[in-house]
Symmetry: C2
DNA sequence: ATAACGTATTTTGTATGCAATATAAACCCG
DNA sequence: CGGGTTTATATTGCATACAAAATACGTTAT
């Protein structure tokens, strides 16, 4: 009786993960055609699991299927982002409201710590580290809702917005605003004030929206 | 130059649609194992497109993959529904808020008509027709938001709740409440009052939640 | 030179075949 | 007769092979 069974994930799942990574990192840029033979050779798998993976990514919305012409990495347009952000706002707001009630006190303390780190990164102008801690805080709050479906839904939307990669184009002003909103967020969380936290989170996404649209304006 | 090209959907897409129908109708009940050979013979296709379709449904969450053991129709638990409903509330609320601003006046008139039909079905105790018109109204309002991502997100969540099929267990009382809330909904829409419509929609889903949980209690 | 046509090549879509894993059945031994 | 082991069968996973469609290319005619 051996319970140390090695359950390696099916190939198509591994391939899907790898593709997701390639798309997320920008190595496969939006609009790129996915050539099956090429990818097969590259990954050392046959076309069957590769195609199954591509179908999965298609239902996730990461790639777009063109009948008889294969798949391309889906392009996230400005309109898409404009559609997604209000939804994220609602959902993050809901997540916060639930988190304010459900989270353990020590979890909230942990968020305060990470928040302090984030502020330091802001002061030191460490952009990458700032975004990473920022993302982590949002993730922890959402997870603090205790609602896994909510987490999944937000993640899938968030992935698309992130893929548009505007974030780097933050102005000093909007950055400061974002940080001060985060301060309010953590305070509301510590006070376990669901209504307040919800309002702040919704406002926070609104700030993000103007930032993104602003940077889109400038880059046109 | 012939523009009347017949673009028949790829097989795996057709198969996915058919499977979705079978699952939605309950013909493939939750927990059922999907036997590939059986389904292939049934549908007259080979295993390749069938498997691709199954992978798609898996990422949609309609089926669950069990490595080396195929796929089963995913079961929607009470916990799942408890998780999903608050999300639906937020999203339908958002949809209503946007619809109150974006919808054309004649579209609102159409909703009023359908609403009147729904009330008639309620009075005549025509359950099936009631649910159908009810669903249609919610769908039209959501679509009236003009936010396709929102529509898709709500639909995918809604499908899961519907699959749990509790709805038939409505009490006379909760049914009456639902109808009166619908009356308020249409009124708020005609008044183009986004805040009010949002509140009503959120409240409406809350009513649904208690109805469902109530019927779950009784059926245990 | 360029536009249009037809052919060659590439690429995707589907079917089939083989290997690996899981399930079911038969068998043996206590 | 029952528990456990072996053997057989069925089912999934992956790879390959063939068919159909799309793209690329070259040729011809204007």
């Amino acid at each position: 009786m051996n319970s140390n069974v090695i359950v390696r994930a099916p190939l198509h799942v591994q391939v899907a993960e790898r593709l997701r990574l390639l798309i997320d990192s920008g190595e496969l840029a939006p609009g790129t055609r996915l050539n099956e033979n090429e990818l097969c050779q590259n990954m050392g798998v046959s076309r069957t699991p590769l195609r199954e993976a591509i179908r999965s990514l298609a239902t996730e919305g990461l790639v777009e299927l063109q009948p008889n012409r294969g798949a391309i990495v889906s392009v996230v347009s400005q309109d898409d982002v404009t559609e997604i952000l209000p939804i994220m706002a609602s959902l993050e707001g809901l997540g916060g409201r639930l988190a304010a009630v459900h989270m353990q006190t020590d979890q909230i303390k942990q968020i305060r710590q990470i928040h302090n780190q984030m502020v330091t990164h802001y002061q030191n102008n460490e952009v990458t580290e700032y975004f990473e801690t920022n993302r982590l805080i949002h993730e922890l709050i959402t997870e603090g809702s205790g609602n896994q479906t909510l987490v999944d839904t937000i993640n899938s939307l968030s992935a698309k917005v992130r893929r548009a990669r505007f974030s780097a184009q933050m102005t000093r002003e909007s950055w400061a605003k974002a940080v001060s909103e985060h301060e309010e967020m953590v305070t509301a969380l510590e006070a376990r004030d669901p209504d307040r936290l919800e309002v702040i989170l919704i406002q926070h996404v609104e700030t993000k929206r103007t930032t993104i649209l602003g940077s889109l304006q400038r880059s046109e």
